[in-house]
Amino acid sequence: MSIIPARAMGRPLDRFDGADKVRGLAPYAYEHPVARPAYLSAVRSTIATGQIMGIDCSQASAQPGVLGVLTHLNAPRLGTDDGELRILQSEEVAFRGQFVGAVIAETSEIARHAAGLVRVDYRPRPHDVDLESSREQGRLRVPQQIMPMFPVTVDKGDVESALAAASVRVEHNYRTPWYNHNPIEPHTTIACWNDDQLTLYVSTQYLMGVRSTVAAAFRLDPQQVRVYAPHVGGAFGSKVPVHSDLILAVMAAQLVPGRSVRFALTRHQMFTQTGYRSPTIQRVRLGADAEGRLTAVDHESFEQTSRLGEFAEHATRATPTMYATPHLRIRQQVAALDLPTPSIMRAPGESVGMFALESAMDELAVACGLDPVELRLRNEPVAHPLDGRPFSSRGLAACLREGARRFGWQPRQATTTPSRQDGWLVGTGVAASTYPVLRLPGSKATIRVTPDGRYTVLMAAVDIGTGTRTALTQVAADALRVDLAQVELRLGDTAYPPAAQEGGSAGITSWGATICVGADELRRRIAAEHGGTIPADGLEVTVDMPENPHLEQYAMHAFGAQFAEVRVHGETGEIRVPRQLGVFAVGRVVNPKTARSQLIGGMTMGLSMALHEASLLDPRYGHVINHDLATYHVSSNADVPAVQAHWIAEQDDQLNPVGIKGAGEIGIVGAAAAIANAVHHATGVRVRELPITLDKLLTV
């Protein structure tokens, strides 16, 4: 495969829509101007499991301005098997906070007030929301295969014998809590039925998924559903799948045909209705020889899913890719609980799995008396440790070396004593990052050219705030071999050719590859059919995403190395991270400005994961009780004084015609472990359960 030469690519362009967003001129889904909007407010269950015995809507219905009340008694029957989406289909309640009704009204205030007047009587049943006891009592199952290319069960060699024979062993459990996505823009929808046509403005990462899911649920032809998503205010994965809020909005719109129903989840509801990252309990066992060369790696992960559907946080996914080992064992199990179904969240699997693996590697470095950078270099594989395929490119060693140089890493033995400054204990830590190069099928692109040399690229892709619109235009200009100013990219409308989701760090990868094929085809036709001149009435081509002939032949992964400096107050245990530095190998970088934003954003989210974020489940009630941004802490400005992302030059011709690996997720991977390892270096305390809060470090 040849990759296209870079002219527009490589330039740190500002987002084309940045100025409009700052000025409030870029309408997000909820803000789209519509005539006579109606407003929706949801009623949610206040029990975890049981039955609705009765619903009294009389007070709500009597409020002036109320247009309708939805319950399971009058909701349309849905044509979907997805348990999470099958709301208002029966009197059954499957988790606390599930939608059990909704009010449509002339204003959002009336809708919210009236929703509070709907009286629901329940017959509760005992609920089970306890992952720890499910694990202890063995109420677990192996999840169905998550992605075929990444097995959930691996047995290579004989791990038990290798561990027994190892000179050095590390065995520990690591725990990560429940996390919620919390993009600033909540999940929002405008839904409007006109005759048999449904129009949706949705905050989504996947327009085609919205169209097909809604069409199936409401038994429509997909052509009856038009989806717009011109601008999206963040997502972190929560907006890849359709959630029940969209179903509720479409149901409500059916009650008031011709009117546009606006629905925005509250921040409380964002903790229940939009998926989340499951807590994990992970056991890692490492065996090594006296020089620190791994002889055995065993990684198990236990997680939760719901009784409505299955989603497994594939925490062990990265482990087979990381280090050379003759013996490898991977297990992945889930417990089905009376809770909402977990879902995709930034680097699903790798983010939490690499916290465990890279913490264990640090523990191994200490046990071997080896510098943790050196330990990783010693365990670099020459080919993929599981199947022996060569890596299309593997930049881990280069990232470790470059990161150590930039950070000023001091190689150390286990005996090195940390420093103390003004009452603060200071330490440094390192961890590796990785993320697979994914290829999401299902994209097409249309490219039009007019005789004045203007090109229009159409795709039902979406920019969720990452700068995709800008970077993908750079790709298109280089694919077409024209100036940036000649190219207009139109996204965010299902009237355009279908596009895969913005997810898996594979948006620009998949869409860009498709555009490259379209550009080739357009040039070929101009040359072959029109003698090299654009015809007077223009020309248009529509192409499919190309196959990658190298897919089976090579293992394709991005890598990185992250370094952190941590200060822990000797008397209060307060933790500060004055410095984070990451170096990444992500193939070509299309737009250094937006790519850097993705990388430092991921690293910041990793810092947040290390020190702050945790959704607190109250098992008696069955829901997350710190469901707002005042009590669910995320790292904010003062917590992130200096975060730097760099990359090494990496040309990889096997990936796709653009030569990119994706940068959206890798930044979060390894960040928490680097910080936890630095905390250990500073204090001697190994925290194996996130978040690392001051009470865990306070010397009594």
Partner: protein, 329 residues
């Protein structure tokens, strides 16, 4: 959220008269906490009486050398005021350690003192809470209580008072001036908030219709070298796990006088009088500070998740006062 009426009061007496006639009415200052609680259906006033035009929005020097802060002064203006920064830095530091710039710009001094607890269960109407719904039970005692109280708790409530400003004002012996249906009075700040006992629904001693009009700071020379130390779960805005407001007067190596108040540990700003008494009249050594702090915390009763607050509070007291002593040398 429920429908409500909104009225503006133009003078304290009018505001008090209006509220006294309406059992479900509430005064509105900046609204940064009250409006949130209304959206959550925790607070259900049928009438909001905006008192920003009824109470003073200025800070003035009193004839005795003290300072009077109008209840309508914004938190930002309070923290920026030179009189406060020079004579009572602990007050300015406490304000700047709370909330975000945007909130401080709109939040008022009176409202800050009367903000409600951030106990998770108080703010979630689908759970039991004696403060929100008397007699329903306390979900926090057997639930998530890491942030909650260790001192002065009751079997009915373990909530903490969230205001940083109140902790600093408790340390400098501030007095709250009020106007109510029965006239005006001055309440020492340390007596404004109460312990929960069997009536946790009452955060403070104010009668319905009683309006805070000002806060008076007495002249206190040692307050010029006072300090606020707040320990929280992140560097950015967050409520205190433990905070310490302190001022000390050391002469000839002996503690002549000292003020210590704690936040994040009780249903009210916790004035550490026992520690103060033990420190007066002896040297300000680390060892004496530690013993005084331990004596203050001797009766602390931790909850399942917050035993760490005892050593944290002890260490924070020792460090904050020692830093003051060392700065003075």
């Amino acid at each position: 959220m429920r429908p409500f009426r909104y009225e503006r009061a133009t003078d304290p007496d009018g505001a008090v008269a209006l509220l006294s006639r309406s059992p479900q009415a509430a005064f509105l200052g900046g609204g940064t906490n009250l409006v949130d609680l209304m959206k959550l259906d925790v607070a259900r006033p049928d009438l909001l009486i905006d008192i920003r035009g009824a109470v003073s929005g200025v800070i003035e020097e009193l004839p005795d050398g003290g300072v009077r802060i109008g209840a309508g002064v914004s938190n930002s203006d309070l923290a920026a005021e030179p009189l406060i920064r020079e004579r009572y830095p602990v007050v300015a530091q406490a304000v700047l350690n709370g909330a975000s710039t945007q909130l401080r710009n709109v939040a008022t001094v009176g409202g800050n003192l009367l903000q409600r607890t951030r106990c998770l269960y108080f703010q979630d109407i689908t759970t039991a809470c004696n403060k929100r719904q008397p007699g329903s039970g306390c979900s926090a005692i057997d639930g998530h209580n890491r942030d909650l109280a260790i001192l002065g708790t009751s079997p009915d409530c373990i909530a903490t008072q969230p205001s940083d400003l109140a902790v600093a004002l408790a340390a400098v012996d501030a007095t709250v001036q009020t106007v109510g249906p029965d006239g005006s009075r001055g309440i020492p700040l340390t007596e404004l908030h109460r312990l929960p006992g069997s009536e946790p629904q009452h955060d403070n001693v104010l009668a319905h219709g009683e309006l805070i009009t000002a806060v008076d700071l007495p002249p206190l020379a040692m307050a010029a070298r006072s300090r606020y130390r707040k320990i929280r779960d992140r560097a950015s805005y967050a409520f205190a796990l433990v905070s310490v407001a302190a001022a000390i007067d050391v002469a000839d190596g002996q503690v002549r006088d000292v003020r210590i108040a704690l936040g994040g540990v009780a249903h009210k700003p916790w004035r550490a009088r026992r520690a103060e008494d033990l420190l007066r009249g002896g040297p300000a050594t680390e060892d004496r500070l530690r013993r005084a702090a331990e004596a203050e915390l001797a009766e602390a009763q931790p909850q399942s998740d917050n035993a760490f607050k005892i050593p944290l509070a002890r260490n924070a007291i020792v460090r904050t006062v020692l830093d003051l002593v060392e700065a003075e040398r």
